[in-house]
């Protein structure tokens, strides 16, 4: 796979150029790595793929929206926000973090693995009690 590494500022212009050349948006995806967040925008023309890649800081990821060029990108961009904590500016249809209803906020966004939330001693059921104790899910 060949990637064209670009800066986030250049994304909109690149996307406009690809749109004018007849490319179709195939997917927008992100990968959380230990020190960075990789964003991949994939486009298709007659079966051939072209990938744009941006590398962002996982703590302050911010991107321009491409919905002014590819309107259907709004779902991908809301997903980037809800799962990866990427702030996307100017989404045509912005769900403001309510597209996915996840127990853990930004499940792919933190570089730290979620810690188990131990029960306080008073909340632990006595041995032999069949009642299940409930715990709140840890939040980053």
């Amino acid at each position: 796979m060949q990637f064209e590494i670009i800066a986030p500022d250049a994304l909109l212009q690149k996307a406009s150029g690809l749109k004018n050349d007849g490319y179709r948006l195939v997917q927008i995806g992100a990968t959380r790595l230990p020190k960075r967040l990789e964003l991949t925008y994939t486009f298709d023309l007659n079966g051939g793929l072209r990938h744009l890649r941006m590398e962002l800081s996982p703590t302050a990821a911010r991107m321009p929206s491409i919905t002014s060029v590819y309107w259907g990108a709004f779902l991908y961009e809301n997903e980037l926000h809800d799962l990866f904590n990427v702030h996307v500016d100017g989404i045509a249809v912005d769900f403001h973090g309510t597209l996915y209803q996840t127990t853990i906020k930004f499940p792919f966004g933190s570089t730290k693995a979620p810690q188990a939330n131990p029960l306080p001693p008073s909340a632990k059921p006595p041995s032999g009690d069949a009642t299940l104790a409930t715990t709140s899910m840890p939040r980053p």
């Binding site: 796979m1 179709r24 948006l25 195939v26 997917q27 995806g29 992100a30 990968t31 959380r32 790595l33 991949t40 994939t42 079966g47 793929l49 990938h51 590819y70 309107w71 259907g72 709004f74 779902l75 809800d82 249809v93 912005d94 769900f95 403001h96 309510t98 597209l99 996915y100 209803q101 996840t102 499940p107 792919f108």
Partner: protein, 391 residues
């Protein structure tokens, strides 16, 4: 229909729409019975087999805006890749969806095989195509039943699911499973088809073809069906392309895009042409799916006739490394798998873009300006699969 239901936080405030009183003022005192109402559609609805929520902003009986909400069945399956061995993960990939489970597993295997430069035996490639096409037939028959049911065509619903049962029986006879096949693995397939099973496939598919012909002919020639579907929810060629539609939704707007033409599995050896319609309306989307049932049957006949002898799998050693995007054609359209690996047993990233995810923007556009009564029909014409979409 005059009450204004309080909207969720993400919904645009309909207060921007003029009230009846404001319209009366604007028209010089003439009363106008037009106001905006938000009608929640789903997540539980008689026509929805899976949960999706739509906020429908309506003016009288016309939908002026529709906003989807998903996330009711988000399972975080992509995250599981960090904990499961890459060889085991085929089972997770298959469980993304209960309808196109086999093709999910197949696409995952293809991505890993491409990263590890594994050459799958031709017999395994043919068997993958046969099971993939069986999945497509039963998916389209399931959709046809749901569509008929949504239109009140109960008998056709029952008949299409009766025929679908034959396909599920074939899948069970050849793989051992009806929903999750468990027969695809990295490096090939787990099960072979013997000559007796080939004969069974041919004889049963002959019956499926005859019965499906009768059912689809009744459905597509029915006057009520045509009245409900023809000219409704038109998606022009340009719109379908701009919105990134895939699968039958795109092909019904005249664009012959089909990932099987990329030549994965045995498709490079099989002759077929993508089925397209120029109209782009709801009826065209139904015609494409109905025709694809018979196309899939013909593809299976071809594959069985040319099924090569030989091994069905190769031994896999080592761990994957690098990145790859694999694409296949599911019943609902193109599915995209992105995999990233660093040479360990666990992948770094597993990302799935499903066909329904790509078709949802088109649904939002289709619903704008439609009659409220047409909403269930339009939702079903894109054949949504929400489990796939949310993963």
């Amino acid at each position: 229909m005059n009450s204004l239901i309080s909207s969720p936080a993400h919904t645009r405030n309909p207060q921007s729409a003029p009230t009846v009183a404001e319209q009366r003022t604007a028209t010089g005192g003439t009363p106008v019975l037009r106001g905006r109402t938000i009608i929640p559609f789903g997540p539980q609805h008689p026509v929805l087999p899976e949960p999706i929520h739509l906020d429908l902003v309506v003016e009288d009986e016309k939908v002026v805006e529709a906003r989807p909400s998903i996330g009711f069945i988000h399972r975080g399956l992509e995250k599981l890749v960090e904990k499961k061995d890459y060889l085991e993960f085929v089972y997770i990939a298959e469980r993304i969806c209960g309808i196109c489970s086999f093709i999910h597993g197949q696409t995952y295997c293809q991505a890993v095989e491409a990263m590890m430069a594994i050459d799958v035996p031709r017999r395994a490639a043919y068997l993958r195509s046969i099971w993939g096409e069986l999945s497509r037939i039963h998916s389209h028959l399931l959709w046809l039943g749901l569509m008929a049911d949504a239109m009140g065509f109960e008998s056709l619903f029952m008949h299409s699911w009766r025929v679908r049962e034959r396909v599920l029986n074939l899948i069970e006879a050849t793989t051992g499973g009806r929903v999750i096949f468990g027969s695809c693995k990295i490096g090939g397939v787990r099960r072979d088809i013997d000559p007796e099973q080939e004969k069974l496939l041919l004889s049963e598919l002959d019956k499926v073809e005859k019965e499906s012909r009768e059912i689809t002919r009744v459905f597509l020639r029915d006057n009520s069906v045509k009245q409900r579907l023809c000219g409704v929810g038109v998606l022009s060629r340009q719109e379908a392309d701009d919105l990134g539609c895939v699968g039958p939704t795109l092909r019904a707007s005249g664009i012959g895009q089909d990932m099987r033409k990329l030549g994965y599995a045995a498709y490079s050896d099989l002759e077929f042409a993508p089925i397209t319609r120029p109209e782009g309306d709801s009826f065209a989307r139904c015609v494409v799916r109905c025709e694809e049932i018979f196309q899939s049957i013909r593809l299976i006949y071809q594959a069985i006739a040319r099924l090569p002898e030989g091994e069905i799998s190769v031994k896999v050693t080592g761990n994957p490394s690098g990145e790859h995007i694999a694409r296949t054609e599911q019943p609902r359209g193109e599915v995209v798998y992105y995999l990233k690996a660093n040479g360990t047993r666990n992948l770094q990233r597993f990302r799935v873009r499903t066909p329904t995810f790509a078709n949802l923007p088109a649904l939002v556009k289709l619903l704008q300006g439609c009659d409220l009564a047409d909403v269930p029909i339009l939702v079903l014409t894109i054949d949504p699969c929400i489990s796939c979409t949310e993963r």
